[in-house]
Amino acid sequence: MEDRKKASIIESILFAMGEPVSINEIAQSLGESLADTKKDIDSLMECYEKEHKGIMIKQINTKYQMCTRPENYEFVSSLLYDRNKGALSQAALETLAIIAYKQPVTRVEIETLRGVKSSSSIQTLIDRNLIKDKGRMDVPGKPILYETTIEFLKYADIRSINELPDYEEFIDGIQENVLEN
């Protein structure tokens, strides 16, 4: 595989994962040795630094993660704050919807359904008091289970989770009465 292709794949992986990814995982996905993979990642990092790119690759022990360049923080944070002020982001709403309907639920279950890493959305929902930790599931790895809070009921203006609309029913008036036609 040529270097540019490898660099491109590493970028895709780090972007999609959003959280620290071990060098083993990247090497495995590329089908390359650890040493070669390390070289590829290093040269990508160097290139990001040299060009002062808005995205940085951070190394944490043997893991790598993408993040925004701290110097640009002021430009980013004002936008993020503005968005957070009002309603929830679509990402947070989706995450909340899964937790509301499937609770108690683990992060992996949420991410499998959404197909997107969701730890930042979960954190946002915890900050906003809409969901909380409900202990750990008794399986290997003991993942945290999430459930909605009393505040969630208040904001949604319902008395209990049972009052959530039934999701298996048609929501639209598509099945208009045939007799009317």
Binding site: S12, F15, A16, G18, C67, T68, S77, L80, Y81, R83, N84, K85, G86, A87, L88, S89, Q90, A91, A92, L93, E94, L96, A97, I98, A100, Y101, L113, R114, G115, V116, K117, S118, S119, S120, S121, Q123, T124, D127, R128, L130, F152, Y155, A156, D157, I158, L164, P165, Y167, E168, I171, Q175, N177, V178, L179
Partner: protein
């Protein structure tokens, strides 16, 4: 004729007709109606043989083909402008338009892989310092959940009601007969339209109507209508 193509592969009668037209390598605007009609009927019958009930669209098209076929035997009609009218014209137009949209659907399908192979990411987390109140719109929440479930094919999807075959069990005429008799146990009369109040699909309406005819034939019920366009009253005998 071989039946390796199964009827349930077809989106509807237009789709089946287009298949026959392609197979026979004929022009949409010059369909040999007699041969296509008999091929169409053969497919329909093969479906019956497999004990599958067809949706009304397939049957409706069969009657339409037969109507066109009979018109072709009559002297050529002329329209108001004195032009000869081809009885096949209207159907050909519809098939042609359907074919175009089928083509477009293939084009859209071609884009799908790219879409399914693109990964987006969530907003980065920043500690919340606003602590502003938010209101949660339940409709939005439900919509978000249905979007996720649908993307994972976990909702009761279209295949539960858009199917081209409905299993015979779904609405049985015996059940409708029993239902009507049950209603008439409690009261002597019932208004005609009330018998249809729970008939949400065309199939249910048709079956309910057949059940009424059957009950009249067996002298179990009778009906009366005082004046034209008055409500029809069903009365048990």
């Amino acid at each position: 004729m071989n039946y390796e193509i199964q009827l349930d592969e077809f989106q509807g009668p237009f789709d089946l007709l287009l298949h026959l037209i392609n197979k026979n390598e004929i022009d949409i605007f010059d369909i040999p109606i007699s041969s296509i009609t008999s091929q169409y009927m053969e497919y329909i019958n093969s479906m019956k043989d497999r004990n599958l009930e067809m949706t009304s669209e397939f049957i409706l098209m069969a009657s339409r083909l037969i109507e066109i076929k009979s018109k072709m035997l009559l002297p050529v009609e002329e329209n108001d402008e004195g032009e000869e009218v081809d009885p096949r014209e209207e159907l050909a137009q519809k098939l042609y338009e359907y074919k175009i949209f089928k083509e477009i659907s293939m084009y859209i399908k071609g884009k799908e892989r790219l879409y399914l192979h693109t990964v987006f990411k969530d907003p980065e987390y920043i500690p919340d310092q606003t602590s502003a109140e938010i209101s949660i719109d339940l409709d939005e929440l439900l919509k978000a959940f249905r979007n996720i479930m649908a993307a994972n094919d976990l909702l009761e999807g279209e295949d539960s009601s858009d199917v081209h075959m409905i299993s015979r069990e779904e609405v049985r005429i015996e059940d409708r007969i029993r239902h009507i008799r049950d209603i008439l146990l409690d009261c002597e009369t019932v208004r005609f339209h009330e018998l249809f109040s729970d008939s949400s699909t065309t199939q249910k309406i048709v079956v309910t109507f057949l059940a009424i005819l059957q009950l009249i034939k067996n002298n179990i019920i009778t009906f009366q209508q005082d004046m034209n366009f008055d409500e029809i009253i069903i009365r048990r005998i």
